[in-house]
Symmetry: C2
Subunit: 226 residues, 2 copies
DNA sequence: ATCAAAAGATGATATATATCATATAGATAA
DNA sequence: TTATCTATATGATATATATCATCTTTTGAT
């Protein structure tokens, strides 16, 4: 029987560079893992054996720094590779991945992916491009945060969820103020304060977990200045 | 005539995965470019045609952010690929590279490297590993800076040059206070102040461009706390 | 050698951010 | 339900950082 991945978006990324007779083997190691919100998909320090791709849901990549602080590296949405960092350069994960929303991951044997790289140039090329784009995004994002101040950083995160994740100015904020703080490198109290200030200034509206961006332009100006 | 790259360290990275009959073509597009301190090797916005590797010297990768600020992304030392970021994912450089010290770069046609990826699995695998390691380093570094305060960030930079670049506690600091500021995302004045403070505390000694780390342990503690 | 520009240095002050304290609402477990 | 914990919220204060100003030193150009 031929592979069941017809509906999977991974197909558009990879299948174009894989010959039909390779698809069988390619799918053989593929399995799906469901993780509930709060559960870990990858634990820092674990040995890297898999190549993981997010099919559904939302996850966070984070690490525990030397002094014990939790730092969120980035968020992962469907079609993102959550195991791109370190996968090919290290033997142990130097970050953890946990589900923010209930999620489904596609898991492949890393050894199989490596075999594909060795034997299929087009696949390798494709993977390199995807990897590059992903790394560049993280780097540019983190650099952006580094030169912004508190207000710009918070605005940045809110706009990220509106634009990249939910593609709408109204959404349920999936992360806590604490997680925002861990992502942008500021204190929890100040994150809360800024969100309150945005609310009082009618830039956003908050009711429970729901968040609506009322004045997108002003929020973008807050993000872009300083 | 066979390739002249015997002495080049690139050999150890790449030649192991390249067959002898490929070396000829591999070398055909290779050329060396010398850049004097202060000169640009790559300009942000330029089209990406080359694959560049630093043979000698010291460079900085930097970008101009949306609001016009200059931000240093990382430094490049011999055997670093200075064109790893975006090379395979974009058509234009989104950063510049300029020489801090007089430098020599090895330049290859990107198209030729891409051809190698397509036809040589071992080479592709090797390149992916190198790329991953490089990206991970930048990401972890930038994340580290993001959660550190002024003193920790400055300590971090000084130790970086001591450990990674010069492998000695005494060296000529190759960059200005302004460049340190552009790298760590703090003001020039405060960078100067911190260096003065380190000097007054006998953690470092400064005479002209020369810098000596007198108390490595304390400097490392400064880096690691907060 | 001279001048101009940039880098380094430092003080005074304003602003931004963290920290500590406390309170309330919401979530979770017993 | 009650009790307990966590998240959100806000004020007061301490600390960290930026900004502005001024000065000296170094560097670079002519």
């Amino acid at each position: 029987m031929i592979c069941q991945c017809e509906s999977c978006h991974l197909k558009t990324l990879f299948y174009s560079s894989i010959r039909l007779d390779e698809i069988e083997g390619y799918c053989s190691s593929r399995r799906e893992i469901g993780v509930k919100a709060g559960e870990d998909l990858i634990k820092q320090g674990e040995e890297i054996r898999d190549f993981i791709y997010l099919k559904e849901g939302l996850v966070k990549l984070y690490r525990k720094s030397d002094n014990g602080q939790i730092q969120i590296i980035r968020f992962g949405k469907p079609f993102d590779f959550v195991s791109l960092l370190s996968v090919f350069s290290d033997d142990k994960y130097n970050y953890s991945v946990s589900a923010i929303e209930d999620s489904v991951a596609c898991v492949f044997d890393l050894s199989e992916i490596k075999q594909l790289i060795l034997t299929n140039g087009a696949f390798a090329m494709h993977l390199i491009e995807i990897q590059n784009r992903a790394s560049d995004l993280i780097i540019m994002n983190t650099l952006d945060l580094l030169q912004k101040r508190l207000y710009g950083r918070v605005a940045s995160v809110l706009l990220y969820f509106a634009i990249e994740i939910y593609k709408s100015d109204e959404f349920e904020l999936p992360i806590s103020r604490k997680e925002i703080a861990q992502y942008i490198g500021m204190s929890i109290e100040n994150v809360i304060r800024v969100i309150s200030a945005f609310r009082k200034d009618k830039i956003i509206q908050v009711y429970g977990k729901n968040l609506a961006i009322l004045d997108r332009e002003r929020l973008e100006r807050m993000r872009d200045l300083s």
